[in-house]
Subunit: 577 residues, 3 copies
């Protein structure tokens, strides 16, 4: 085995990057290694070139149009008469059906998130994941009813909202001045339907945070930070971008924030609002918590702890993809823009496909394995990235920006590993980083065909032809849009990260954030929830962190009422062997 | 360990309630215990007061309107012209799309039910759960086509239906006089679409029963009682409430049942029709079957048998919640009432959130554990409760009644345990009891804003403004509505329970209801289905009931054709260790 | 045990069919055996007669109309004005919502396929299933964008398409001449929405193939054949049936293929196009691959390898059923035909129910066990069969043809077993064979009430009243329709099978198709993906093929970067015992 590294030179061996560079310098002096390296490099380059040339050739051969402006060549025109309820009484009902279909699908993402997180964690912390995901959903519903929706979609000032946009004397706390016929803005959708749609979004942001914090967050800590996230951070910062008078939503226009930018900040369905906010809170949480007991990082000769059920995890990822068809197309809030919803749905799909493919091939290049985690986080990265620009880019643009997201998510995962931050599901790489990339990508790939619709969920149901179509840098639109996107993304991410650090820092100070070491060794599930997720399965000692007494694996606490099941006489604990 | 109970005084220790009272009396004489108890009590009360005061304060502070009438202040007005197909040819198609979307989502609940039941049972009875759920669905489809739909939604008399409401010579058995253009009543929805929606409801009622009967029902017994439930009990009793001439649907009006009540019985989407019927059949089944071998109850020093896969169970619960968005909002059968579907969807969500939160906090107060089963059954209880009143209550009312359901479900679970009835999934507490609570809650919380729509699935697609809005006791509507709800709920539950006892009693008498003791010891799955759900996993002896030879755990019957897989030489049974 | 076969004469004992016939001849000479056999036969016949007579009696008793023409008695009439966008601007949006709802549900089937395949395979090849399903989806999306959609739905000639049907100078490769307002044919649905719907179909065909090839296909081989399937075989052969000028779509009309047939080839939602194509490619793959190591067939004394997680498998089947409501009803591409979508949805349900019931009762007759695999593949068989005729048959016809499919799938499974072809999920029996049966069944059961709509997904959104209603043999329509269906099905299946054999033969020749024996013994997952699906669970030696060193079960390759988790000191492999 002494020469093993010569036989499998691509295999990771736990060296730090510095060590690797040193080794690389040494190796490059060896002619055999040089040949070997060149061969490898050449092979990869050839494959890459074949791929790119192939695509370009076929495109050219088939008489492709202008690069980056392939698919659509004219903008949709739509009579504004269509929105006149008096002219057609079916419009509001149809738009409400569309919005509710979106809301249902986005709510369905909770099943996906729960499966993804439960599958990727260790079995000893699975019940905790399950209860947290359900608890956060329930809590978010009540808070978003109580004040979250008012903060976010009520009018007020640029920083926070509270009242009906049409009547400042009617506050929206507890939805109290929302009468049965109140419609959300000009969308023709009842406020309660819009509330449900937006609640499902808020719930996603909240669930994203919990992914990074798996396996060591005390449940009381979870409750407290969830109140902060669902009740304050998400809706208030969300107001900046999507509120009727949010300062980023109106940025660049006369008399508002940074008029010189000359562009609104755009985030069609929430790459920034939902995913970046969720991802950056998650990062703060992961930092303050520290890694799980026994987690060793690559530079220390370790690596990610193994997921305990990849089937559940990957199926959860697919259910997320399914739910994304509510997230993005539903964000038009209107089916009257039927060209738009078709385009958004197709773009969403293509970005996911490209993200998954790029990530799995990078994984293969790195480890010579077709990695299930990489492909899943790859398509999720594509989905997160396309969430902001989905309305304004072409299918080809979607593929390119989704593919890039597939690469970014892997790099970001390596960065976390390097900084010794334990993120069991990769929430920051997927949502935090690719949320930024998706937001910026609009400034590059907006194809110049489609008018802004405001930031969609604020609700103008038809494209706003009074503003020019959005055009990104690569389509000749200059830097204005990219600049607006950079400013908006930076303000949101930085503010979120600072506030989240204050919240988690306070919880940490009061000792509420992380469970005790004893609890963690006993296992989150037994300690906090009194039961293991799979009491019947014999779990191997692999599942126990270092320092944990081996004979407590799979131990079922006989003192917890719910689990004080009738055990066969003489059996009170199941040794792992 | 002698003083263990002093160190963890809140932990359940298997004493009966009588013992506990005795102990309490003794302890209260001890000053230290009194102090301790007062402290605990005070802490809980303080938390409760903070919560309630907090909500009220914020509400007041924000200038809330009349208590219990917070959200909507005017009723929706809608021209009846909208239902005139000749005026707008898109109305029927849109309503059909809405109804089918509802039908698909409700059908999707089968995946949720199957996961919930499979996850909460032991691994040795999982295949039985899977096959029963699928079998019941298939059987229900054929029976509901053959005569169930005619019994339920055909006209006839107050007790049973059989013919087209507009033509008594056309019976609806085997849907034979339903021609291609028959619409369901005035809804504008084709009968075949309505059939699918209602089949999915019938299937839910049927599946609910099977939950309580897990682990000891013979498969032939399951087939026979399922024929009774899907073919007779559900559709006939359902006709009373939802049939065009059902005696409860018309109760309180001139010339019909109990005209003095002065109110129809209302059940918007089936708290009574689907959930109470299912739950009370389940209870009868559980009683006649008796508990699974080896199940010891709390008063005998035992407790519920452990679920074998909480991940599957909780995700199944979330999928049920997802499907409920078809169940409740879909029951309008019409998207033209777009204010109504938004309201129903939002109310459904809030009741679920409140139910989950209340249940998990009660669980924490009881056991100091955040219980996955409690929170799941809690939100399901909220969903069951809101199913009847969802159209007529305010969001605030939904939260209150859903939260109460979260408490009721736990109390009902304790009652079952006290009476030594083995209900592995809690079907009676969730569906039977909370179905009643939800039905009655309309009489308390109906907010006086919304007109009746008949019992929705019978089909008037717009609110019926010829009848006054429904107003419950707490909103100043007096007792009339509550009385109607009590009468209806009582008649349905009592009739169901009596008939179900006759059915199960007969099956029991002929020895068809329960599998043999040998079969149960061998394991439902091996005995009835010839295979275990997870033949590769090593299952701990915990999964075996007392009296079961330990070395047969996970044994794969080599005689069953389907499972006569090639075993490695010499291995025909896998010992549990 | 010597007399075991006398005690359990119905139990399969691994004899070949020839042996069984010989034994039967011997046994029939024994009077006791004759009596026994007669008794059994009589019992079964009686049950069958009771069932049939029961159905007929009830039908007669209830005054049933003409046999086989029970449900609908008049055809729907619909003004073609409805399709005039200028008359009602809501029609196109509503049809787009309907088509997208269908697309989302069909995409959701990927979660179902993944669960079904993952649950039915062994744990050691599960990660491979997961990664393949996701990879194929991603790949299919890119290829269907690049040229698949153009090949299939573009105009060109009878064999392949490439350009906009209305303008031959605009090719559709990379969707490049699809501008933002291009609608798909006369459907009023934007091309991008139709693309998504059809991508989801293509993805199903691709995923079906992978089911048969589980557990031994090299990943590079999978990539290569998937490119062939998604990029060429499916879209080109699909064009024959569904393309605007496909030679089978136009077969039987003047100036086209076989004008003497006098009927188009009809495939409403793809029994042939999606399922037969997928199933016959799968068969070719299974043949070229050969069985998994250690797989022994019934005639050799073995049987199918055991599935490792029936819960996941059966729930996956239910999710497929759920998704089928997008597959079949969505294929109208139009909600304006609201009678049609209701009918299709109801027929789909009834065929599934009948298929499941027939299969599970056959399984019980065979093995005296209620088989989870049989009932699942049974309802899937019913769903595959109804996919072609769902628009044109009555509910009663759906039940009959779905029930027959439930029998066919079991016979086809036995045939595969007899020919020693290893199909872990039964993809060929379910999709290949029942796809043919469903296609032919239209020629028998088309009830003469409904006009053709072209082959739906090509898009005329209202029934085409210029052609006579479709009438099958059993409804007095003669042989013409059946003949057209036979010709179409034969041409598609034979072509697919031949081409697939060439593809797999070539891959086999280059050694790219199957993984090495060493890799298979190590386990697909560890070899190709570097991780097992459930690293924490102790897996019994049952899961290892014969010849595999027992102590490598559940072994986690420490060399794979992703799985180089921190293992407790001294533990690098987990012995199975």
């Amino acid at each position: 085995m002494k020469n093993a590294h010569r036989l499998r030179p691509l295999v990771r061996d736990g060296l730090s990057y510095a060590d690797k560079f040193a080794r690389l310098r040494v190796r490059l002096r060896d002619p055999e290694w040089r040949r070997y390296g060149m061969l490898l490099l050449a092979g990869k380059m050839i494959a890459l070139v074949i791929l790119v040339v192939g695509i370009l050739l076929v495109r050219e051969f088939m008489k492709s149009g202008i690069a980056f402006a392939d698919a659509p060549t004219t903008a949709p025109v739509m009579s504004t008469d269509l929105t006149d309820m008096t002219k057609n009484p079916v419009i509001n009902p149809l738009n409400t059906v569309w919005t509710l279909l979106g809301a249902f699908l986005v709510f369905g993402m909770q099943a996906g998130f729960t499966m993804l997180e439960a599958g990727l964690c260790r079995s000893r912390e699975t019940v905790n994941v399950l209860v947290e995901c359900v608890f956060d959903t329930c809590l978010c519903g009540i808070l978003y009813y109580a004040w979250g929706y008012a903060f976010m979609f009520g009018s007020g000032n640029g920083f926070i909202g509270w009242h009906d946009p049409t009547d400042a004397t009617k506050n929206w706390f507890f939805l109290q001045n929302v009468d049965a016929t109140t419609l959300f803005n000009t969308s023709g959708v009842p406020v309660l339907a819009h509330w449900l749609f937006q609640f499902a979004f808020a719930d996603c942001a909240s669930t994203i945070c919990s992914g990074t914090m798996i396996g060591r967050t005390a449940f009381w800590g979870d409750i407290l930070y969830s109140v902060c996230v669902s009740g304050f951070i998400y809706p208030i910062i969300g107001h900046w971008c999507w509120g009727p008078d949010g300062f980023l939503a109106l940025m660049g226009s006369e008399g508002h924030f940074l008029p010189s930018v000359g562009q609104f900040f755009h985030d069609f369905a929430g790459s920034t609002v939902v995913h970046s906010i969720g991802g950056w809170i998650a990062l703060a949480g992961g930092i303050w918590l520290g890694p799980r007991l026994g987690r060793k990082f690559k530079r220390d000769g370790g690596g990610p702890m193994l997921p305990h059920d990849l089937t559940i995890a990957v199926v959860g990822g697919l259910i997320l993809w399914f739910g994304w068809y509510g997230f993005n197309p539903g964000s038009t809030l209107s089916a009257m823009d039927f060209q738009g919803i078709g385009r958004v749905a197709a773009n969403t799909t293509l970005a996911a496909c490209a993200g998954g493919l790029v990530a799995v091939f990078i994984g293969y290049a790195m480890n010579k394995k077709w990695d299930a985690g990489f492909i899943t986080n790859g398509f999720l990265a594509g989905l997160v990235a396309i969430t902001c620009p989905c309305y304004w880019v072409s299918p080809f643009g979607s593929i390119v920006l989704g593919g890039i997201a597939g690469g970014i998510v892997i790099a970001a995962t390596e960065i976390l590993e390097f900084f010794r931050i334990d993120d069991p599901v990769g929430a920051w790489p997927v949502h935090g980083v690719c949320g930024i990339w998706g937001t910026l990508s609009l400034g590059l790939f907006a194809c110049g065909m489609y008018h802004p619709v405001g930031s969609s969920p604020t609700g103008v149901p038809v494209p706003d032809a009074t503003n020019p179509p959005l055009t990104g840098l690569l389509y000749g639109g200059g830097l204005a849009l990219l600049k607006a996107q950079i400013i908006g993304s930076f303000i949101v991410c930085a503010s979120t990260f600072v506030i989240a650090n204050i919240v988690f820092g306070a919880l940490h100070m009061f000792g509420l954030l992380r469970i005790s070491k004893e609890g963690e060794i006993e296992g989150m599930d037994l300690h906090e929830h009194g039961i293991s997720a799979y009491p019947e399965y014999v779990i191997s000692p692999l599942a126990a962190p270092a320092g944990m007494p081996k004979d407590t694996v799979n131990y079922v606490a006989p003192s917890a009422a719910h689990s004080s099941a009738e055990l066969p006489a003489g059996i009170s604990a199941i040794p792992a062997k």
